[in-house]
Subunit: 316 residues, 2 copies
């Protein structure tokens, strides 16, 4: 049996009781540590779980081209033993785990998954309502000659219908220099985690280049650090203000939300508590936000319906 166990967002105590029972019983326990990271070290997990943990790299979890059977180390063991793969966040947050489940299914290996908090839902702690979010986008580190901007079109789509956009920020873990890679040196660069400041600057850079007014320096956003952790931190402000928010936010992981105009006054009031400058927040909100609907789809709801909606949306 292959168990995919979500670890949640922050530390060793974010595992569920169900997940912990599986970790204690499994014959082998792997930790997938290249798509995201917890905020604590492997040794803390090991002593808390009372188990040694094998750190799984891409070759262990993903398609192994040396093995024609679509299998890999993980699946070979799971065919005959109870193997647990620990995944930061929720097991289905990452494409790569869905792919693993699918391959296990093809090989006839039973799979059981244990859900947990994901940044996709945990971001609700910033005070913005989850049902007001559009698609999630990712922001990668720009280099001198590579500044991918596909996020811009997706942000536009969300903003055209007034929705918030969650931006997931790049991490570089176990990266090799091209030189080390070519020489086969297993020497890795120090990990890098994109900050909210970097993200905000890259966004403004692309807006300046494209000039389509999808957002601007005055657009409201929320920077988030260590969501779900005991010292999680939010900073709300304009994109321009967030360019300089890294000191306030502190250590990784960071993520960011760009606000959509179809926002509710509860969201305004909640996030206002995190505002760099409350006056700016109030002024810009009054000017640009709290518009209940997009021009393309006139609001026809009556109050009763909105109230009923709110009740069902609460059923999460």
């Amino acid at each position: 049996m292959l168990y995919l166990v979500g670890l949640g967002l922050s530390d060793e105590t974010d595992i569920t009781v169900k997940g912990l029972e599986i970790v204690k019983k499994a014959s082998r326990v792997y930790l997938e540590a290249y798509t995201s990271i917890l905020l604590v070290d492997q040794s803390i997990l090991e002593s808390y779980y009372g188990r040694s943990i094998i750190v799984a790299d891409r070759e262990t979890v993903e398609f192994d081209s040396n093995d024609p059977s679509e299998s890999n180390e993980l699946l070979r063991y799971a065919a005959t033993e109870d193997v647990a793969l620990l995944v930061v966040g929720d097991p289905f947050g990452a494409t790569t785990h869905a792919d693993l489940v699918l391959r296990a299914r093809h090989l006839g290996i039973p799979v059981s998954t244990v859900p947990n908090a994901s940044i996709m839902s945990g971001i609700g702690a910033c005070g913005l309502q989850l049902y007001n979010f559009g698609q999630t986008v990712s922001m990668v580190f720009f280099t001198d000659n590579w500044r991918p901007a596909s996020f811009y079109d997706r942000v536009r789509e969300n903003r055209q219908i007034g929705l918030h956009t969650l931006l997931l920020l790049d991490i570089k873990v176990k990266e090799q220099t091209i030189e080390n890679m070519m020489r086969g040196n297993k020497v890795f660069e120090p990990p890098r985690y994109m900050t909210v400041g970097q993200c905000a600057r890259q966004m403004l850079e692309i807006e300046e280049e494209k000039g389509e007014g999808v957002y601007g320096p005055d657009s409201l956003a929320i920077g988030a650090a260590r969501v779900g952790g005991r010292n999680e931190k939010f900073v709300a402000g304009t994109l321009k203000e967030l360019c300089d928010s890294d000191d306030a936010l502190g250590p990784p992981l960071h993520s960011m939300v760009l606000l959509g105009r179809r926002a509710h006054e509860l969201e305004r009031d909640f996030a206002r508590g995190f505002a760099v400058d409350k006056e700016t927040w109030d002024t810009l909100w009054a000017r640009d936000y709290g518009k209940q609907d997009a021009p393309a789809a006139p609001q026809t709801d009556d109050n009763a319906e909105e109230k009923e909606d709110a009740k069902v949306q609460a059923s999460l």
Copy 2:
């Protein structure tokens, strides 16, 4: 201190270790049981947690108009004791809990929240990728003279840009008849939970009425039951097929996803495993899905960027 503790989606073992420690130490433990439900009874929670639990109704958690201080029973205790409010899913899944946190903040009561899986992220278990979802909508029970259709506009917005839509289905818990309410009889109707079949029928009814072709009987969707539970179940098919899927799905809670065309072949293959009729699934997919972009925003990504995107999107 007010603790908001997410319980996750299914049973008593879905609480996190961090959450369980809080429950064991708090002086009072409330369970919010009107916006959603776990799949197990209160008594099972009580014996597992080793605590008696007070079931919190709307008056306990929400604004109490008899109390001019914006307080209520929960906040009055939390001002001087450690009070835990247990919330099905994630504490920030429901608007009402964000409102509670905001009022606690105004009253100077410290708040700590413990995240957990929410249906918003847990739905990833159906094989559709979370970053391909647009806004979440809610579907309420239609009555003879009340058939709210605001969901239709929101589904259109999602589908116009090729995104999936998660539909949260109505629950009616502790509802009174108008007669009992007027007489002040505290007699409650049996709880009702909307099924995927009912949702699919209501959707088709509204499409027939509006005739705008936002979706149709051939649109692909996935019905989900007891997501995150040991016996979770998914059924994939056309809206027409899902009208008759309730027997296959079994007991509550149900939810549903209407697919967007901007879907990936991994999503096709994963969900195909749940298909009512695999041939229909393949045919309709080939005809209408797997289109990588919306007409309004031509795809300009190169492969390298898509690959990089996939990696970051994996960082959940």
